[in-house]
């Protein structure tokens, strides 16, 4: 039995209605308990800001695409190199850091749980190898279904039960967590070098539309009672005028779940553009947030961009090719047979670029114009909008109008006419920040039952203590203190174990991987369905028997079982 007592913590725990309360937190064997014995280890928080461990609900940190981003970027590896030190292995890289680099930086920022934004089922083994090599964050994988042939056939036949059965088999086979749709249908079209420009356009050869894929997958997702909702990267990402597609898509979404949203729309900043060309692009954050404010069934994340060099990586192959034609920078593409696509390109977001400035403003507008912070979460689509180490600056921007104005003053002079950011006075408070970085993310991902995102009795003792005396700090003027504070925790506690102190990781890791195993009635299961098996063996280049990810790849796996009601 191991016990830990955190004394004099200034706690924000939105899910338990706790806001700026001085209290002690008792921990036994990795969980929060009522009280501990006198022999418990004690740490003193000295009245500093204490939050549940940070959760990133959309980040690219592990897997084929991420590793290829590293593979092709020796120039980035020269940045942020550290030697082996104490329990820390060597790290390399700034915007595409090594597996250790990502984990250590998340840890020292107080983040303890991360959802990998995109895992191609065929390459799942790779993602899980990196999950296992990740010391400290509990991981889970969005599983890509956007161009899945079997799914599109089911959609075409209007067979939701079939779609659900395929999802069930796939998730359990590749140890995935949730359904991810990236540019649904578009990734299949990209197999021919094409893309879809509307959610009502037919996918070549499959006679289904993105709209049909999305609605069917939402229905299937809820039939299977998956903890997370469908996780959608809308069509037309990064195209001027794409906000209409985004609004159309939101209008498709029914309210089907009392516990959480029915659709998670990711990196919406990239989907909120007005105008018709890059010349007249402008912000449609108001239209987008008007829709979201009226639709409790939708949760989005910001997809904030921050200025500087970074790497874009997504399953959205066609979008990356367009970006390549724009930037002429090195371009990688990786289509995955029968399933999805992907692309990678380095970018530089510059204050000299009006387009980039508009993008910067839109992300912040989305957050500030969304009434309920549970509906707009803090994320950069790491590393697409910016590496996650920029989160503290984003928090600063959300909490301080003055900081925003000072930044705004340094931007391209055209930014004012294209955006509304300078007219927004809202300043987020500590509680709202706690929601956008913990509580909201846990709720959206459906991991509150796993003890994530709060500090109530029974919760997993994932705790971040920041060197910020929130009682004495005024974020709207002292935003520098806020930013510095969020960059390095005094303590990061994972399952009751202190993993980082003052920016140093001090223990070897023992993270877990959450995955979902939905059970469906035998009669509709595809595992033994002759047609499914036949097509699999004919068109995949690996045998169906070699496809599922063996248990050895999840030494610390945590299976969540769900019952489908069909």
């Amino acid at each position: 039995m191991t016990e830990l007592l955190v004394k004099n913590a200034c706690v924000f725990d939105p899910l338990n209605g706790i806001s700026m309360e001085m209290m002690d937190i008792s921990i036994r064997d990795g969980r929060v308990v009522e009280s501990v014995s006198a022999t418990a280890d004690v740490i003193d928080a000295h009245g500093c800001l204490t939050l549940p461990g940070g959760i990133d609900s959309h980040s690219h940190v592990c897997g084929t695409k991420v590793n290829f981003g590293r593979y092709m970027s020796p120039e980035d590896m020269r940045a942020g190199r550290t030697a082996r030190r104490g329990k820390m292995h060597i790290t390399s890289g700034y915007y595409v850091p090594t597996t250790y680099g990502n984990s250590y930086r998340y840890s020292t920022m107080g983040y303890t749980t991360v959802l990998e934004g995109a895992m191609a089922p065929l390459e799942a083994r790779h993602t899980h190898e990196e999950f296992t090599a990740t010391p400290h964050q509990d991981m889970m994988a969005n599983t890509l279904f956007d161009g899945n042939w079997a799914i599109m056939e089911a959609v075409q036949k209007r067979d939701t039960r079939r779609a659900a059965a395929i999802v069930a088999w796939m998730l359990s086979a590749v140890k995935g967590y949730s359904i991810k749709l990236t540019n649904p249908g578009g990734t299949e079209a990209w197999g021919w070098g094409e893309d879809l420009t509307s959610i009502h356009e037919l996918v070549p050869n499959f006679n289904v539309t993105p709209a049909e894929i999305i609605t069917t997958m939402i229905a299937a997702n809820e039939l299977l009672h998956l903890p997370h909702s469908v996780h959608l990267h809308c069509n037309n990402l990064g195209k001027p005028g794409n906000y209409e597609t985004t609004l159309e898509t939101f209008d498709l979404v029914p309210d089907r779940n009392n516990g959480r949203q029915t659709l998670y729309a990711t990196h919406v900043q990239f989907h909120a553009y007005g105008g018709t060309t890059w010349r007249n692009i402008n912000s449609k954050a108001e239209e987008i947030t008007r829709s979201v404010n009226a639709k409790p069934q939708i949760v989005m994340d910001m997809g904030q961009i921050m200025f500087g060099r970074t790497m874009t990586m997504t399953a959205d192959g066609p979008m990356e090719f367009n970006l390549y034609c724009l930037h002429h920078n090195k371009w990688s593409n990786h289509d995955v047979e029968l399933e999805t696509a992907s692309g990678i390109i380095p970018v530089l977001y510059s204050k000299k670029s009006l387009v980039n400035c508009v993008m910067w403003a839109i992300g912040l507008e989305l957050a500030l114009l969304t009434k309920n912070p549970y509906q707009c979460l803090l994320a950069t689509d790491n590393p697409n909008g910016a590496p996650f180490v920029k989160y503290p600056e984003i928090i600063g921007l959300l909490m301080s109008k003055r900081y925003r104005d000072e930044e705004f003053a340094t931007l391209h002079e055209g930014t004012g006419q294209r955006t509304v950011i300078s007219s927004i006075d809202r300043e987020m408070d500590w509680n709202e920040v706690a929601i956008m970085t913990r509580a909201g993310q846990a709720k959206a991902l459906g991991i509150i039952p796993q003890g994530k995102g709060h500090l109530g009795v029974g919760a997993e003792a994932d705790i971040a203590i920041y060197p910020i005396r929130c009682r004495d700090v005024d974020p709207s003027t002292e935003y520098r203190k806020v930013i510095e504070g969020f960059q390095k925790t005094m303590y990061t506690i994972k399952r009751g174990r202190i993993i980082a102190r003052d920016g140093e990781v001090i223990v070897e890791g023992a993270n877990s991987t959450f995955w979902v195993n939905p059970s469906v009635p035998e009669e509709i299961s595809v595992a033994s369905d002759p047609e499914f098996v036949k097509k699999f063996e004919e068109y995949y280049t690996v045998r169906m028997g070699n496809y599922p990810v063996q248990d050895v790849y999840l030494p610390r796996g945590k299976c969540i079982r769900t019952e489908a009601v069909l």
């Binding site: 092709m72 550290t82 082996r84 790779h126 021919w192 990688s332 990786h334 995955v336 045998r543």
Partner: protein, 429 residues
């Protein structure tokens, strides 16, 4: 007993549809595999026990002594070289990297003399690629450039390209146009619809010419480029532009000829250019079964796919400086650990000779051309035969090797774990 869907640990195709008949600890029969697979599974001359070189010759020693020797050699080195890694599984590879990290060594894998130049090219311009099934199901134009799959990847054509039926290509051969580019008329060239014979060393020029043609700059070109007529180049460019889905596969003909990675870069930029007209992909034909796995593992731990130097504590990468052949040629390293590869056979001898001058440890199941050069060889299991583990196919698809027979040999991962742990202890003390 017949084991189904066995993964072949020979080449980068990583065929996973073999049926292998085993009788206890013996492999009796291999079905579906190519001749290379068959000889791989029936591989002979496993080294029976650890051996150590003495003044008078060789002596058999215990695994314990062997591991102690290895640890002593590695700990006392000022510039150890850790090389190989492509004929084993991922767990072994990551132990290798961690040992290099601990002792401040240089770690390199066999891509250094295979597709290392392709990696350098990709680091300059990226890599428009795809998984092999994408080619199998869609490609109507296939280009083999500077490679000879019939001899090096015998089932590549039947599983993924020329002779394979795919969803959108129901009639394999009739549905696909095959172009072969080489300096000699190989067996692969025999089955090509178009064969381009290039003067040795002229790949770069021909690729530049094709790029210019695709960009509509044909008039700039001379009548003939590196022995290829402008007419044929124009014809080839047209076939490619008209393709619905084109796939280029290239081999050592590009990476080993003059210009090295610049040849590959030019081929990639041709692919980029073609993507403005239709869908095109390009892929290196990786040689050893799991060489791509060594690139993946190295990359997520160190940030670099090969040639990583830990001498300064941090990871430093600079092929040409931190690559195995260069370090051996300059006689820089004062100890070597060779795992799952045979530099004695595959390195220029002026480089390999240095291995005989320094304490070289070899961890490999077989007696190889490196055996005579080393001071110490520790035999182990062979991944995919008597050991299981992860391998990455040439297109990045990870597949799990099966263990199809039991053996008394230790897994090379266990040997390296022991070496790693004893070095840790020594460092703490």
């Amino acid at each position: 007993m017949i084991i189904k869907d066995v993964v072949c640990p020979f080449c980068g195709c990583l065929c996973d549809d073999l049926d292998v008949e085993v009788d206890g600890q013996k492999i009796v029969k291999v079905q579906n595999g190519c001749t290379l697979a068959e000889s791989t599974f029936t591989g002979s001359n496993r080294l029976p026990a650890p051996i150590r070189r003495t003044a008078s010759g060789w002596e058999a020693i215990s695994y314990d002594d062997a591991i102690r020797d290895a640890v002593d050699i590695l700990l006392s080195a000022d510039r150890p070289l850790l090389y190989g890694w492509s004929s084993t599984h991922g767990e072994t590879q990551s132990f290798g990297v961690h040992i290099a990290e601990l002792i401040g060594g240089v770690i390199d894998n066999t891509s250094t003399v295979c597709h290392g130049p392709s990696i350098l090219a990709i680091q300059e311009v990226g890599h428009p690629g795809c998984t092999l099934g994408q080619v199998k199901n869609r490609a109507d134009v296939i280009v083999y450039w500077g490679c000879n799959p019939t001899e090096a990847h015998p089932r590549h054509m039947s599983r993924y390209t020329t002779f394979a039926t795919g969803f959108f290509v129901p009639e394999a051969q009739r549905g696909r146009t095959v172009i072969v580019v080489d300096t000699r008329r190989t067996e692969s060239a025999e089955i090509a619809d178009e064969f381009i014979r290039i003067k040795r060393g002229g790949d770069y020029e021909v690729l530049s010419a094709l790029r210019a043609i695709v960009r509509g700059k044909c008039e700039v070109l001379p009548r003939e480029v590196a022995g290829v007529s402008r007419e044929q180049l124009v014809r080839i460019a047209e076939i490619c532009k008209k393709a619905k889905f084109g796939a280029i596969f290239f081999g050592l003909g590009l990476t080993m000829s003059a210009g090295k990675y610049k040849n590959v870069r030019n081929a990639i930029e041709l692919t980029d250019e073609l993507n403005r007209h239709t869908k095109f992909t390009i892929s290196p034909l990786r040689g050893h079964a799991n060489v791509y796995g060594s690139n993946e593992v190295f990359t997520w731990i160190t940030g670099y796919p090969y040639a990583v130097d830990f001498a300064r504590g941090i990871a430093f990468y600079n092929p040409g400086e931190t690559t195995a052949v260069d370090i051996l040629r300059r006689g820089e390293c004062d100890a070597a650990l060779i795992v799952a590869s045979d530099p004695g056979a595959h390195f220029p001898h002026s480089a390999a000779a240095h291995l005989a001058k320094i304490p070289t440890i070899l961890i490999d199941p077989h007696q190889t051309a490196t055996t005579p050069l080393c001071r110490l060889q520790i035999p182990c299991t062979m991944a995919g035969i008597d050991a299981e583990g992860t391998a990455y196919r040439m297109d990045g698809v990870p597949i799990r090797y099966k263990k199809i027979i039991e053996s008394s040999y230790p897994d090379d991962a266990d040997l390296l774990r022991q070496i790693h742990d004893r070095i840790m202890e020594a460092k703490r003390a």
